[in-house]
């Protein structure tokens, strides 16, 4: 009853093709943005910001990146972790070499470095598909991981081999480094993620999104209607890696405050892929759902038994996370291969006719 579209007539094609054509969706989005930009800063505490929202937003961005590549363009990639790493290391080198330029600019620019690397490793996609392509992206993952540990120039020759994040300010307020408050970091991350999500939504609703989906669904037919496959696939790698790179830079600079190379290992690649699958391949909102579920799960696994007075060791909760995530993936694939996004669509469908059953 709340979700009726009755009475919402579209009188122009532009209105029909809008990203959020239904009024209730637009209202919902506005409410979420108000909560995110206004209420959370007013009411949130450090734990919520630092350990929940900031990483959730960063992983959502990385998931959107992978979703564009795997969900929309159908190109399976296991190199997301490494591409995130490229962004992080690029950002470090840029800000060390040009410390006076605003760090936010460098975070965004490092995405381009990631995009370049991603495009390079995407070249084989012209000749190979499916899990063969996944193996090719593993080549990227392992090679880049090796680079991160064996090329000291990348981590500024620091003795520990880890990235150390210098203090940087935006308009006089510290946003990276130990003195940056979680609120400032949260607002920067939120702004970047919101803008980039908007851009991603624009892309997938237009001709580029259609082009990718054509390549995904049947690339031979896509070629025959005039789509250049290599360009489409390389563009997908480029854009996806850009998003991963920015997410990686934010991960190090705006969340961890420093990092060791193994943050960007193959486990990270898998984790993001799971977020894509569980959230829903080929949906943007699914990226948020998937990131939320997979990221919040271990936190929940620690917090819930503690709430009941049964503390569990961190190692056990980590292992339980693995078990549950593994099971969730299989359960989702069996019951709803289109992930949480589809479940959300079904829920909205029920809301349309509520309180009637159909």
């Amino acid at each position: 009853m709340f979700y009726r579209e009755v009475g919402q007539y579209k009188t122009s094609y532009a209105a029909d093709m809008a990203v959020f054509p239904i009024l209730q969706d637009r209202i919902g989005l506005a409410i979420i943005l108000v909560i995110a930009f206004v209420l959370v800063p007013l009411l949130g505490n450090d734990f919520l910001l630092n350990s929940v929202l900031i990483p959730f937003l960063i992983f959502s961005l990385a998931t959107i990146g992978l979703n564009l590549l795997t969900g929309y363009a159908g190109l399976l990639s296991l190199g997301t972790g490494a591409f995130m790493g490229v962004g992080a290391y690029a950002c470090l080198k840029l800000t060390t070499s040009f410390p006076l330029v605003n760090i936010v600019i460098w975070i965004l620019v490092s995405g381009f470095f990631s995009a370049a690397v991603g495009t390079l490793f995407g070249l084989p996609s012209l000749r190979i598909k499916g899990f063969y392509l996944a193996v090719a992206t593993l080549a990227a993952q392992f090679f880049l991981e090796w680079c991160f540990t064996r090329i000291p120039w990348l981590y500024n020759n620091s003795v520990s081999g880890a990235i150390e994040v210098p203090l940087r300010k935006l308009m006089g307020v510290p946003i990276t480094g130990p003195t940056a408050t979680s609120l400032t970091r949260y607002l920067v991350v939120l702004s970047i993620v919101v803008v980039m999500t908007w851009i991603a939504a624009n892309l997938v609703h237009g001709r580029i999104g259609r082009m990718w989906m054509s390549v995904r669904d049947m690339d031979l037919a896509a070629e025959l209607i005039g789509i250049r496959l290599l360009r489409a696939k390389l563009l997908a790698f480029a854009v996806s890696s850009f998003y991963s790179g920015v997410a990686g830079a934010m991960l190090v600079f705006l969340w961890y405050g420093g990092a060791e190379a193994d943050v960007f290992n193959i486990n990270q690649s898998f984790l993001i892929l799971f977020m894509v699958i569980i959230g829903g391949l080929g949906t943007l909102i699914g990226s948020y759902f998937g990131a939320a579920l997979i990221y919040i799960l271990p936190i929940g696994l620690r917090a819930i038994p503690a709430a009941f007075g049964l503390p569990i060791r961190p190692a056990t909760s980590e292992q339980l996370t693995f078990v549950i995530v593994g099971m969730l993936i299989i359960i989702f694939l069996v019951l709803e291969p289109n992930g949480l996004a589809r479940l959300w669509q079904i829920a909205k469908q029920k809301l349309r006719v509520w309180p009637f059953p159909y």
Binding site: N202, S214, L220
Partner: protein, 270 residues
């Protein structure tokens, strides 16, 4: 059933000529030294028993297969090998025997995908969508809606194509090909699996496309009634070779054609 129509079409200019094309896959000779032409504005049928190489012929014209020898001359330009992208850019569109729709997308998106070559707004405009990119989308959407109205599929245009019945899927595929505004439309068994009513609808669409838009059509079809009614000229293939090339009536009576389809009565010498 009507006889062949007299048409005041410019039957002089050749749009596409196939010259001595041969094609082999491993040990199988799909096409042997086939030559024929397709004239601008006509409806050309390609017929023959199963396995005659008709689909392979279309695939060669399309650029999907490269012939081992011979060449295609399209719009006066000879090509020994043509990539699918070049064929699409040159104005060749086609439908497929086994349907090649984008199953994850809606009818509308599938046909809009056909406009891919015509949508030129650059990547950076796409990033912000509002403004020139959206205007271009609306323009093309208008054109696509015309095609949807023409094919009478307006009621289902927001439905995912994977959920549609076969006959409607074939119509969507035709719509996608039409969205390319092709000079030459290749139809591979457009009537396959349809009942009489659906066939009449499809025939009507094909005729309308030819008459109203002047699109040249090459058509593979098994239903002889459709072939006789619709086509201006017919080329007959058997075991990869051309055995007849004439107007429908001429082909109907051709001895070689009858033998290819029906075989020989027992006791007659070859």
């Amino acid at each position: 059933m009507k006889g062949p129509r007299a048409r005041d079409v410019d039957l002089g200019t050749v749009l596409l000529a196939v010259e001595n094309v041969s094609l082999a896959f491993g040990g199988v000779q799909a096409l042997t030294d086939v030559s024929f032409d397709i004239r601008k504005g006509e409806i050309r049928a390609i017929i023959g028993p199963n396995g005659a190489g008709k689909t392979s012929m279309l695939n060669v014209i399309n650029g999907f297969y490269q012939p081992n020898s011979g060449r295609i001359i399209f719009k006066g330009e000879p090509r020994a090998a043509m990539r699918p992208y070049a064929a699409a850019q040159g104005g060749i569109a086609r439908t497929f025997q086994n349907l090649a729709l984008f199953r994850g997308m809606t009818v509308l998106d599938n046909i809009m995908a056909g406009r891919a070559l015509k949508m030129r707004r650059g990547f950076f405009w796409q990033l912000i969508r509002h403004g020139p990119a959206l205007k271009e989308e609306v323009e093309h959407r208008r054109r696509v809606e015309e095609i949807i109205d023409f094919l009478e599929i307006a009621a289902i245009r927001k439905i995912q194509v994977g959920r549609l019945p076969y006959g409607l899927q074939k119509r969507v595929e035709l719509g996608r090909a039409l969205a390319m505004e092709p000079d030459l439309l290749l139809l591979d068994e457009p009537m396959a699996g349809m009942n009489l009513e659906e066939k009449e609808d499809m025939s009507r669409f094909i005729l309308d496309v030819n008459r109203e838009y002047g699109t040249t059509i090459a058509l593979i079809e098994h239903d002889m009634g459709v072939v006789m009614d619709l086509s201006d000229r017919v080329v007959v293939l058997d075991y990869g070779q051309k055995i007849a090339d004439a107007a429908p009536n001429g082909v109907k009576c051709d001895k070689n054609v009858i033998r290819a389809y029906l075989g020989e009565p027992h006791g007659t010498s070859a």
